[in-house]
């Protein structure tokens, strides 16, 4: 390797990366926003100094100022700080719900796809029944058994999204089991669990991360909606849906209480869905538009 190419390569890589970034500038914006969200989830105090729970009745319902960038709410709490700290609740609740849905959905789909016959029929029908209830109503039904609360909200949202993942894994398992290479692998005398673990599962779940990314957007809206109804975390938690519910009552005097958390939700869902769609387009070999 000559010295020339060494000095040439990084600059080429940089120019390629920057031209890619220019062509996909919305994606770059989305990814950077999500990085900020991740930072807000892990270490919110780096982004916002003020205590999200510290009330100050003398500074209630103030508009935006140098001290309070996005103003203060009805109790005088700093909205910027509450929105930043809210990322932790909103994102971790929806991510945990999706993890539950992915785990149980994959297992159910894999079992149905491998077993075929009556077990497959049973699982498929069960999924049909679960998905014949609208997602949010199903979640509300589950919460009515367990009562409101963060953990119950996660479980309810997660269970409601199981069918989506199970269906995809099931049909992919069918496809993979029919394919030539599994037949081939079978002739090597592999035991069934090894065959499934090493050869079937990786291909059956190939699309799951993409679905999970797109599903995360829906889960964030679902989390906000259910906490808006008072089914999730309880006041004074700084959670986006809960902040919207509180802000709804002060709309006349202080619109900013309800507006900023909503913008945070919309931007997050937009970024997540844009990345998910780009990923899906790449996976299917299409150009993203």
């Amino acid at each position: 390797m000559s010295t020339e190419s060494v000095s040439y390569l990084p600059s080429l890589a940089i120019s390629r990366a920057s031209s890619w970034a220019l062509r996909h500038s919305p994606l770059v914006l989305a990814a950077s926003y999500l990085l900020l969200c991740a930072l807000a989830t892990l270490e919110p105090s780096w982004l916002a100094r003020a205590d999200p729970l510290a009330a100050d009745p003398l500074a209630a319902q103030l508009g935006s100022s140098g001290e309070h960038w996005l103003g203060t709410d009805q109790l005088g709490r700093d909205i910027f700080s509450r929105v930043i700290h809210g990322a932790r609740y909103s994102l971790s609740i929806s991510a945990a719900a999706i993890v539950i849905a992915v785990l149980f959905g994959t297992v159910a789909g894999l079992i149905a796809g491998l077993a075929r016959g009556w077990l497959d029929e049973l699982i498929t029908r069960l999924l049909d029944v679960v998905s014949s209830f609208p997602d949010l109503l199903l979640a509300l039904m589950l919460i009515s058994f367990t009562g409101p609360g963060t953990f119950n909200l996660i479980v309810a949202l997660g269970v409601a999204s199981i069918p989506r993942f199970a269906r995809v894994v099931r049909s992919q398992t069918f496809v993979v089991m029919e394919s030539g290479y599994v037949e081939q692998a079978r002739t090597f005398g592999l035991t069934f669990p090894v065959l499934v673990w090493r050869h079937v599962l990786p291909h059956a779940v190939a699309q799951v991360p993409i679905l999970a990314t797109i599903g995360l957007g829906g889960a964030i809206i679902g989390t906000a909606g259910l906490s808006f109804l008072g089914m999730g975390p309880q006041p004074p938690t700084a959670e986006w849906g809960l902040m919207l519910a509180e802000g709804r009552n002060y709309l006349y005097n202080a619109w900013w209480i309800a507006v900023w958390p909503g913008i945070a939700i919309t931007l997050t869902v937009m970024s997540v869905s844009a990345l998910g769609r780009y990923w899906q387009a790449r996976f299917e070999g299409r150009e993203y538009s």
């Binding site: 049909d128 035991t191 809206i221 919207l244 309800a258």
Partner: protein, 346 residues
């Protein structure tokens, strides 16, 4: 060395051989009998719908049985229990009977539209739900109109156009990512509090319906519009579009009269999802705008653990979903003759 494993295809062939597939027990014989029935896709679809509905009712019965704690205290909810109420529940649900009788009893009652009593509101559940049905139907109906008008408008105007398509894709992404209840709050602030064009809350005539319907319908319209737009773009690329244009038909007439019909087929399959979204959205939108309706009683019932009301609403929404998706599937069979021929399942 493991014994050679039978490939599933071979195994299937073996069992499907008449000599080998002697029915071992009654269930298999019933299944074979059902399979021998003349198969019409329409009948199959209706049978599947009924099966799903029965399972939904059974699932809600099982949920009550499996829920932690005593059934009586579960059904009473947050209300303070008195011996009289407990006796009424025992009698109504037949709790002293064996489980299978309770189940049949429950099925029988649900079949007759008897969903029991709410011990919190002290009313008949069926009467309560049907009294709150109309405001919610009005809201979802108007939201559906908004959805369709917005989706068709956006798709017809922008499909197959380079910058129009990009703009539409951006609008769809933003609207589909916006929680409908937050959109409602923003609309409420702009049009009710600031411009004072619409009433702030409640159910007072058509004017109070506009903002909730728009906030509920736009997010759904974005998703439907996306499907329509993709279908329309594809239809406009097909040879028939060129043929129609060669007859001297204008571009907009081609879009509205010819291409839209092709694009509508995939969008029609979204109907079940659309209904679920509208009903879920209505629950929250009603809270935002302080409207009466199913949403309000659902939220109140969940917070008070008013189980009979929750079960009734769940079964009711499953019923609508099943009826709607069955009708849509049958319509689909009517519209597209190619599907009538196909007999493969899944």
């Amino acid at each position: 060395m493991n014994p050679p494993r039978i490939l599933p295809e071979l195994a299937a062939e073996r069992t499907s051989h008449p000599a080998l597939a002697a029915p071992k027990h009654g269930l298999r014989r019933v299944a074979r009998g059902l399979r021998a029935l003349p198969r019409s896709p329409g009948l199959t679809r209706i049978a599947t719908g009924l099966l799903v509905l029965w399972a939904a009712v059974s699932l809600s019965f099982a949920a009550i049985q499996l829920a932690p704690g005593d059934i009586v205290s579960l059904l009473i909810g947050e209300q303070v229990s008195t011996p009289a109420i407990e006796a009424a529940i025992r009698q109504e649900w037949g709790l002293d009977e064996p489980l299978y009788l309770q189940y049949l009893h429950y099925l029988w009652r649900v079949l007759h539209g008897n969903f029991g009593r709410s011990y919190i509101l002290n009313t008949d559940v069926a009467a309560l739900v049907s009294s709150q049905l109309w405001p919610t139907l009005k809201l979802t109906g108007c939201a559906l109109v908004v959805t369709i008008v917005f989706a068709v408008g956006l798709a017809v105007l922008t499909a197959g156009r380079r910058w129009g398509g990009r703009l539409a894709s951006g609008i769809e992404l933003v609207l589909a990512s916006t929680p409908s209840f937050w959109l409602g709050i923003v609309l409420l602030f702009i049009f009710s509090f600031t411009l004072r064009l619409f009433p702030v809350a409640g159910d007072r005539g058509f004017a109070s319906l506009v903002l909730p319907a728009v906030s509920l319908g736009l997010a759904q319209g974005a998703v439907v519009g996306q499907v329509l737009r993709h279908g329309l773009t594809r239809a406009l690329d097909e040879p028939f579009a060129l043929t129609v244009r060669s007859w001297g038909v204008s571009g907009s007439a081609l879009r509205f009269r010819h291409a839209l019909r092709h694009a509508a087929l995939p969008a029609v399959t979204l109907a079940g999802w659309l209904f679920g979204g509208l009903l879920s959205g209505a629950v929250i939108t009603e809270q935002v705008f302080g409207r009466p309706g199913l949403g309000k009683i659902t939220v109140d019932a969940v917070l008070a653990k008013d189980m009979p009301v929750i079960l009734a609403i769940a079964i009711f929404s499953a019923l609508i979903y099943v009826v709607l998706s069955t009708v849509v599937d049958l319509l689909y069979l009517l519209i597209d003759p190619r599907l009538r021929e196909r007999r493969t399942r899944h």
